[in-house]
């Protein structure tokens, strides 16, 4: 660290040198005086013999290698002084950069936390999701989840695989916890053996489930989430071994998972062992998410072929019942598509975030262009100073460096303010972001984000500093001395850089505005779709589950639910109440199955598409506002009489019988062993997965049916139509009504249908808001840019305009001349922008709905808007030019 010591001692070193030189000159002078010269002569001779003392000093200092550092400090303090001396310029520049960097920092921190950081598990890169597709099982295997695993698949994969360290399955659910406080419905995750082992996150307290916990009818155990442990047990470490009542059964607590632990991105309160009864399993039951940890060195391709190898083993080892061939599933064409767990967690949000990041990046470029423009104006005003410096021997690299240091200082200070804005911005993003954004709670401003903003600050400083630096610090500067002070008419060449910047800004603004416009059109198109329910704001929802440990007999379950509907309907202000297995867009897993029509002939090998099944109570259609297209709704008498009646959706009716009315009176059944059901009504299509997804073909079943598996719908969403929906007083009365029927029933997912609807459209509205903000920023910056350039040009051309006016040009001519200049710039920018937008909007095709990426209307509107706004921005300086007094202008000097 010798050089460091020298660096700090350098003042001493320099002083020594200075003294030495003075003494040297003295000694020489004295010697010369001694030889008979006058003191004055001697001093002059001594100095001449010595040479340029200043240069000697500088060269000597250079020997120590600090010259560049010292120059940098000089440039820095000079830059800071220049910034302080021009508070207006500095404020505008800093604000522009700070907002740009703040917006970018905020979005980047989201991108970083969601997309870039590894998942919160040990060695997360080894974790994979056991994703598989089944093109032959449309409906059941949807695009997002693919075909989930059945318990028998889990056993086959866990026992026969050659590529995984450990493997397990899990499923989300709810359970009622009683005996602690008020009855509470909690979120559960049920896991098989091997799942916690695969994820590898050790428990905070206690232990994981062992193989013994997975034995059916063995000791019943449970694990807690960190949050639930804190909330219900105050973080008491002695909680291990305590018994809690879950769904009316006692379970012993064996462990607590640590803070921040999630299954993929599922929050939970309790974890229970699945405890499959191996002997009773069949092939079917595809409801479980599979996660595995790859053996070190294994690839996903190898794991895929491992699964492919095990699929026939699975079909041979299990059965769906006597006489049923397991190889039936070959028709489903089940294909493993194992993917990194991170990909599964992030889902389709990646594309959205990159689009947002891209647009915000464009805004940054526009902001840089604006600051570069400001810098150009300022450097032009300083041309004389630069020319003088250059004439005095400053090299042009030195001048360029000075200008760059100045712009980088601006960039860095802007960056520091930007980080502050980014912190606020992240909070804003979290507030407006899709509530189902994965890894939401991991979002924070970390080292990587800070590094990103630093790099961004330096790069933008370089970007907007380099343009003026290269333009004005070049070897031609000496020319400036000659013309210094003369307000000559601006040459074309001098404005080229600024014009180019404005053209670029207009082009980028057009791209952003077109994207924002497309999102507005998408939003519009989505709002136009009839979702299958009306007035969601006044539809109160809540979920109630009646476990068989509480009420065993199916009919009594339905009668209890019926009693609740009656009580709820009696609340003042309630128009009607009903229930359904799950409301559309709620995101709960639904049932799907095949449905065969009596009047159709099915060839032996063919498979019927899967239909969405919903269980509803009478009165559902009226309460939800779902339109009845033909026929009628079922009534309570039919429900209790177990009459085999169903309703179908309009698209299903059309697919099977051509028209809705033709469906009435037809018969459907699930399989040859099930009874026929009469179609009594046809219902409008309901957009189960959000309005942008196709409405699934749906069968509506009575809440109580003759079925040995699930005769009554036990977990259902109650819906209440009332103008008082969502108010606290109303909810109290609702709770009292429910508990007057049965005090042991917790209410969960209490919300209005509007909240569900908004959440389902959150992705679109988030994109819309982000692109809207970006577009508005781009438009504002673009206008400021155009205005600045035109207004500056006008002020530089005052003399020329004065001459024109003196020679007889009319004010209108001048106005037209200036506007033409602005219009030309805007037109060129718009043309380039249209070309760029044509290419770029294709990237957001998946975010659009009901509008093409090349929508001509959007393109035309945005182009017209930009040109109009640009002309408006030119009009103010143009008017000023028109009013120029020729006398004043010509005298202007």
């Amino acid at each position: 660290m010798n050089w460091l010591k020298q660096l700090f001692l350098r003042r001493q070193l320099y002083e020594d040198l200075d003294q030495e030189i003075v003494l040297h000159l003295e000694e020489r002078t004295e010697e010369l005086v001694a030889s008979g010269m006058t003191a004055k002569e001697a001093a002059a001779v001594a100095r001449r013999e010595f040479g340029n003392a200043q240069l000697v000093k500088e060269t000597a200092r250079e020997a120590w290698g600090w010259r560049w550092l010292e120059d940098l400090f000089a440039d820095l303090s000079f830059g800071l002084r220049m910034l302080r001396k021009n508070p207006g310029f500095t404020a505008v520049g800093l604000l522009t950069i700070a907002i740009g960097i703040g917006a970018n920092g905020a979005v980047f921190s989201v991108v970083n936390s969601v997309l870039l950081k590894p998942l919160n598990y040990p060695k997360a890169e080894e974790l994979v999701a056991l994703h598989q597709t089944a093109p032959g099982a449309a409906g059941l295997a949807d695009f997002e989840n693919g075909l989930l695993l059945s318990p028998s698949m889990y056993f086959t994969y866990a026992e026969q695989n050659r590529t995984f360290q450990s493997l397990g399955v899990w499923i989300k659910g709810t359970a009622n916890v009683t005996g602690l406080a008020e009855p509470e419905q909690v979120r559960t995750v049920d896991v098989s053996d091997g799942l916690l082992q695969a994820l590898g996150t050790p428990p905070e307290v206690g232990r994981w489930f062992s193989a013994a916990d997975q034995i059916p009818r063995g000791p019943e155990t449970v694990m807690l989430s960190y949050g639930y442990w804190q909330r219900r047990f105050g973080g008491d470490r002695a909680v291990i071994g305590r018994i809690i009542t879950v769904d009316s059964r006692p379970r012993g607590i064996v462990g607590v998972m640590p803070k921040g632990f999630q299954f993929n991105d599922a929050d939970f309160d309790l974890v229970r062992p699945l405890a499959f009864e191996r002997g009773k399993l069949i092939l079917a039951g595809f409801g479980f998410h599979g996660i595995a940890r790859l053996k070190p060195g294994t690839t996903i391709a190898k794991a895929d072929s491992d699964i492919t190898r095990m699929l026939p083993i699975w079909m041979d080892s299990w059965s769906n019942g006597p006489g049923l061939d397991g190889h039936f599933y070959e028709r489903w064409r089940i294909t493993p598509m194992i993917r990194p767990l991170k990909e599964e967690v992030i889902g389709n949000v990646g594309e959205l975030l990159w689009v947002v990041m891209g647009t915000i990046g464009l805004v940054m470029l526009i902001a840089c262009a604006n600051v570069a423009n400001l810098m150009l104006v300022r450097v032009e005003a300083r041309q004389q100073e630069l020319a003088v410096r250059s004439a005095l021997g400053a090299s042009w690299t030195r001048i360029v460096r000075g200008l760059l240091v100045e712009s980088m200082v601006l960039g860095l200070i802007g960056g520091v303010i930007g980080v502050g804005l980014a912190c606020a911005g992240v909070r804003f993003l979290l507030a407006i972001g899709p509530a189902n954004l994965p890894r939401l709670d991991e979002i924070s401003i970390d080292g990587r984000t800070l590094g990103f903003t630093l790099v961004l600050s330096v790069l933008s400083g370089l970007l907007f500093g380099l343009i003026p630096a290269l333009k004005y610090a070049g070897p031609r500067t000496s020319l400036a001395l000659g013309s210094a002070g003369r307000t000559i008419s601006a040459s074309r060449e001098r404005h080229r850089a600024r014009n180019l910047l404005v053209v670029g800004q207009v082009a980028m603004a057009l791209v952003l505005l077109v994207s924002a416009g497309l999102m507005i059109r998408t939003f519009d198109a989505l709002r136009m779709v009839e979702p299958g329910f009306t007035d969601p704001q006044h539809l109160q929802l809540m979920r109630i589950s009646i476990p068989d440990t509480l009420i065993q007999e199916p009919e009594r379950v339905t009668r209890t639910q019926n009693a609740m509907i009656d009580k709820l309907s009696a609340i003042p202000g309630v128009k009607s109440a009903a229930f359904i297995s799950e409301m559309p867009m709620e995101g709960f897993d639904s049932a799907w199955n095949e449905m065969f029509a009596e009047d159709k002939v099915y060839s032996a090998g063919s498979i019927a598409p899967l239909r969405l099944f919903k269980d509803i109570s009478p009165g559902f259609l009226q309460t939800a506002g779902t339109r009845l297209v033909a026929g009628r709704e079922m009534n309570w008498n039919e429900v209790y009489a177990l009459r085999p009646v169903v309703m179908v959706s309009e698209n299903l009716a059309r697919e099977m019988w051509g028209t809705p009315s033709a469906a009435i009176g037809k018969h459907l059944r699930e399989s040859s062993s099930m009874p026929w059901n009469e179609v009594i009504g046809v219902v409008q299509d309901v957009y189960e997965n959000g309005v942008q997804e196709k409405a699934p073909e749906t069968v509506y079943w009575p809440a109580l049916i003759q079925n040995r598996y699930a005769p009554a719908a036990r977990t259902v969403t109650f819906l209440i139509r009332s103008d008082r929906a969502g108010t606290e007083g109303f909810l109290n009365e609702v709770r009292q009504a429910v508990w007057s029927v049965n005090p042991n029933l917790p209410l969960a997912s209490v919300r209005t249908m509007q909240e569900v609807y908004d959440k389902s459209g959150a992705r679109t509205s988030f994109t819309l808001v982000m692109l809207g903000i970006a577009g508005a920023m781009a438009l504002t910056l673009g206008i400021i840019g155009i205005y600045g350039v035109i207004s500056y040009t006008v002020s530089r051309r005052q003399r020329e305009i004065g001459i024109r006016l003196a020679l007889g040009a009319q004010g209108g001519d001048v106005l037209q001349m200036v506007l033409t200049h602005g219009a030309k710039l805007a037109l060129v920018g718009v043309t380039i922008g249209i070309g760029a937008a044509f290419g770029l909007t294709r990237l957001m095709a998946n975010l659009l709905f009901g509008v093409k990426p090349h929508d001509p209307l959007t393109f035309a509107t945005v182009a017209a808007l930009l040109i109009f706004v640009a002309l408006l921005a030119c009009y103010i300086p143009a008017r000023r030019a028109m009013l120029v007094d020729p006398m004043v202008a010509l005298r202007y000097e």
């Binding site: 003294q19 020489r28 013999e49 240069l55 000597a60 020997a63």
Partner: protein, 113 residues
């Protein structure tokens, strides 16, 4: 930018001569210049000032060290001394310089004959 002051002859020559002078006895800057001038009998045009950058380079490389003292003529002077590393460096430089000189001389002699 003008490059560093005229270093006479070739880069490193001045440093070599300084080291040679200091090997005999420690000297301060002014005395060094005078010694070199005198010894070379003014054959070499040395700008006095150019000595100091050379001295700074030697200081940085730790081939010489300097300390303030009072001279025999009772003036404050900064005396430069050769370090062990400086002595070794000088030997190397001189021998390589001599080899070079010999080479040049041979070539020149060849040209004459």
């Amino acid at each position: 930018m003008k490059k560093t002051a005229q270093r006479d002859l070739f880069p490193g020559a001045l440093e070599m001569m300084i080291l040679r002078m200091l090997k005999r006895q420690p000297l301060h800057g002014y005395a060094l210049v005078q010694q070199i001038k005198r010894t070379s009998q003014d054959l070499l045009q040395i700008e006095e000032g150019s000595l100091y950058p050379a001295l700074q380079r030697l200081l940085k490389a730790e081939l010489v060290k300097a300390e303030w003292a009072v001279s025999s003529t009772n003036r404050r002077v900064r005396i430069y001394k050769l370090t062990a590393a400086g002595a070794k460096h000088l030997e190397r430089e001189v021998s390589s310089f001599e080899r070079m000189l010999e080479g040049i001389t041979r070539v020149l002699a060849q040209g004459e004959s």
